[in-house]
């Protein structure tokens, strides 16, 4: 741990780190040059497979394996979509990469397109990243001038065009088939799978969708090798034959009630406590922690006595969380009301549900209305059971929705109420002493305008 050398953030300390000149001076594009000269696409795929790289966007699917799902022989184009729609509350590592070191992202993107034989890539960036947009567009322009993009890249015979495509303020566009629908000019309603995008994706063609940090890792795997990547992180759990392990460096986002919020790089498997104390300078204002989100709000909650949890793909689930997600930790200090936390979470998902699947559309909106009522002093203990019933029945895990958005809506509900039930009960009893034991159906409040 002590001898860990950052790679994803190494270039960011340099002056003008976002420019091609600074990136090349630091050795940038050497991996691309070597790969185009010495490697076949299949060689890059095999290398990434051997490295054990898993997608950094939230689901943690093995990247090399995803690439092998493309049909072996296909006439016509394969599309590559770079998912830069980063919108998970607490998450900003992709923004930092694109703003501070866009060429690292582009080198990884070009390598990934070369590996998957894609000749067109759509760089789908969320609307709210204007600086990243300008920096990435400038970097793409530099790449065309330098011969890293366009036809016959560096004389290799390989050609690639990259087009920036701007989102329009919808969280669901981060779901890979929602992204594809949005790219095609439609409402971003996720598709029923199968077919998976590798078989039928953008414009009904084989398509790969990868996250920004994922392709940035590809650059370093090509430069340093699969063994280097596997030399850090957490090996597979011998008790779980389906666990492929969690390897490589990771960008951790830290925000909320800590002294030094920020983006920090460390190997996979960093304990939450170490991230907060060593990198984040501890809880702010000398207070104590109450809870933390382990990887974006969708992943649920850890109590303060669960901060031994390591941030790898397998560990958060052992603490009842949904998973690692984006490894974005948001810390809540002892003054935070869990009712307020859950209200904020439910409001987010009610706002961002795309409306396609009834359990998600109605479940997220209903849970918000209940939290509104609880905060208005008209909650009942029964509402906690109703909230849990919603939490247990919406999402792809219970099998009631097309995509995982409502699993993300469900986990904060389930974790908050099951881990902090006494606080919710106290709040309801004290704020509604006459009616907290009522169980008869109640009318909804008039719109409180929080949606």
């Amino acid at each position: 741990m002590a001898d860990f050398e950052p790679v994803l953030m190494a270039n960011m300390q340099r002056e003008d780190s976002h420019t091609l000149a600074a990136y090349e001076k630091a050795g940038g594009y050497a991996a691309l040059k070597r790969a185009l000269r010495e490697m076949q696409p299949k060689g890059v795929v095999d290398l990434v497979k051997r490295s054990g790289l898993r997608g950094r966007g939230g689901a943690g699917f093995p990247t090399g394996l995803k690439w092998t799902f493309l049909p072996q022989e296909t006439r016509g184009p394969v599309y590559f979509c770079l998912n830069a729609d980063e919108s998970e509350p607490g998450t900003f590592n992709n923004r930092v990469l694109m703003e501070q070191d866009p060429h690292q992202v582009l080198e990884g993107l070009i390598l990934s397109c070369f590996a998957t034989c894609a000749t067109t890539a759509y760089f789908y960036m969320r609307y709210e990243f204007p600086l990243a947009w300008r920096r990435v567009q400038a970097a793409i322009d530099e790449c065309y001038s330098a011969g890293y993009l366009g036809s016959n890249i560096l004389g290799s015979g390989y050609s690639l065009n990259v087009y920036l495509h701007r989102g329009a303020g919808a969280y669901i566009c981060g779901e890979e088939t929602g992204l594809i629908e949005s790219l095609e000019g439609k409402r971003a309603w996720p598709r029923i799978k199968p077919p998976f995008p590798a078989v039928e994706g953008a414009f009904r063609r084989p398509t790969v969708v990868n996250n920004v940090e994922t392709v940035a890792c590809v650059t370093h795997i090509v430069a340093r090798g699969a063994e280097w990547f596997r030399s850090m992180g957490v090996p597979p759990d011998p008790a779980d034959p389906r666990d492929p392990g969690s390897f490589g460096p990771k960008l951790y986002c830290l925000s909320g009630h800590v002294e030094r919020p920020g983006c920090y790089e460390a190997p996979m498997g960093l304990p939450v406590r170490e991230l907060i104390d060593r990198f984040g300078g501890g809880i702010w204002k000398g207070r104590r922690a109450k809870a933390a989100i382990p990887g974006g709000i969708s992943m649920g909650l850890l109590r303060a006595d669960e901060f031994d949890c390591r941030l790898d793909f397998a560990s958060p689930a052992r603490y009842g969380c949904l998973g690692l997600g984006t490894a974005a930790v948001v810390v809540l200090d002892e003054t935070v009301s869990m009712v307020d936390f859950l209200h904020n979470s439910c409001r987010f998902f009610a706002h961002e549900s795309c409306g396609q699947c009834t359990p998600c559309r109605e479940g997220t909106a209903w849970s918000l209305r209940m939290l509104d009522r609880i905060r208005a002093g008209r909650g009942r203990w029964k509402d906690l059971d109703l909230l849990l019933e919603i939490g247990d029945s919406i999402g792809i895990i219970p099998g009631s929705t097309i995509c995982g958005l409502s699993d993300g809506a469900a986990w904060p509900i389930k974790n908050a109420i099951r881990k902090f039930r006494a606080e919710f009960e106290d709040y309801i009893r004290q704020s509604n002493p006459q009616g907290y034991l009522e169980t008869a159906p109640v009318a909804a409040l008039d719109s409180t305008g929080s949606h």
């Binding site: 184009p77 980063e86 919108s87 998970e88 509350p89 607490g90 998450t91 900003f92 992709n94 923004r95 969320r126 609307y127 709210e128 990243f129 204007p130 600086l131 065009n161 087009y163 495509h165 701007r166 989102g167 329009a168 303020g169 919808a170 969280y171 949005s182 790219l183 095609e184 000019g185 439609k186 409402r187 971003a188 414009f203 986002c253 830290l254 925000s255 909320g256 009630h257 919020p261 920020g262 983006c263 989100i293 709000i297 974005a328 948001v330 809540l332 935070v336 307020d340 936390f341 904020n344 979470s345 409001r347 987010f348 706002h351 961002e352 795309c354």
Partner: protein, 159 residues
């Protein structure tokens, strides 16, 4: 016949994107962005004209537009459009209070525009800048860790 809204410049900018995509429909969001940037809104007549360029039914463009939250249709947003983040990291560091303060100072509700057209204040879900909470986006500029005083100074400085 309603008066045309898209200028030749806008139409050319939209047409220039056609070669990037295998379908015209994929130019829907880019076209809406081009119009929004120029007019600060996308009135129904612009939707009809975009549909004409993209060889779509106006309802297809309207369907897409209405899914996303950033394209006003009735009137232009203010010269400065402010997005105040309210998601968890910002909420933990005072974004609800910031939003309330900005709206009170400007004399509008979230989503509203001042009478002089100077500013529109919108609520945003996570802006992806959680290390700078509470944050807001004002046109193309992200404002970091905004205090009460900075919020006031920002509003006073608007043209």
């Amino acid at each position: 016949m309603a008066e045309r809204i898209l200028t030749e410049e806008m139409e050319n900018a939209i047409r220039a994107l056609f070669p990037r995509y295998p379908t015209r429909q994929a130019v829907t969001l880019p076209a809406l962005h081009i119009v929004l940037e120029k007019l600060r809104y996308v009135p129904p007549q612009a939707v009809v004209e975009i549909a004409g360029l993209l060889e779509l039914a106006p309802s297809q463009v309207q369907d897409t537009l209405s899914f996303y939250g950033i394209f006003p249709q009735d009137k232009p947003h203010g010269r400065t459009r402010v997005w105040v983040c309210r998601s968890i990291s910002c909420a933990l560091r005072g974004s609800d209070e910031l939003l309330q303060q900005l709206c009170e100072s400007a004399g509008i509700s979230p989503g509203g525009t001042t009478g002089d057209g100077r500013v529109t204040i919108e609520i945003a879900e996570c802006l992806g800048a959680c290390e700078h909470a509470p944050c807001m986006l004002a046109n193309d500029e992200l404002h970091h860790c905004i205090t009460r005083e900075q919020g006031e100074a920002f509003l006073r400085g608007l043209k």
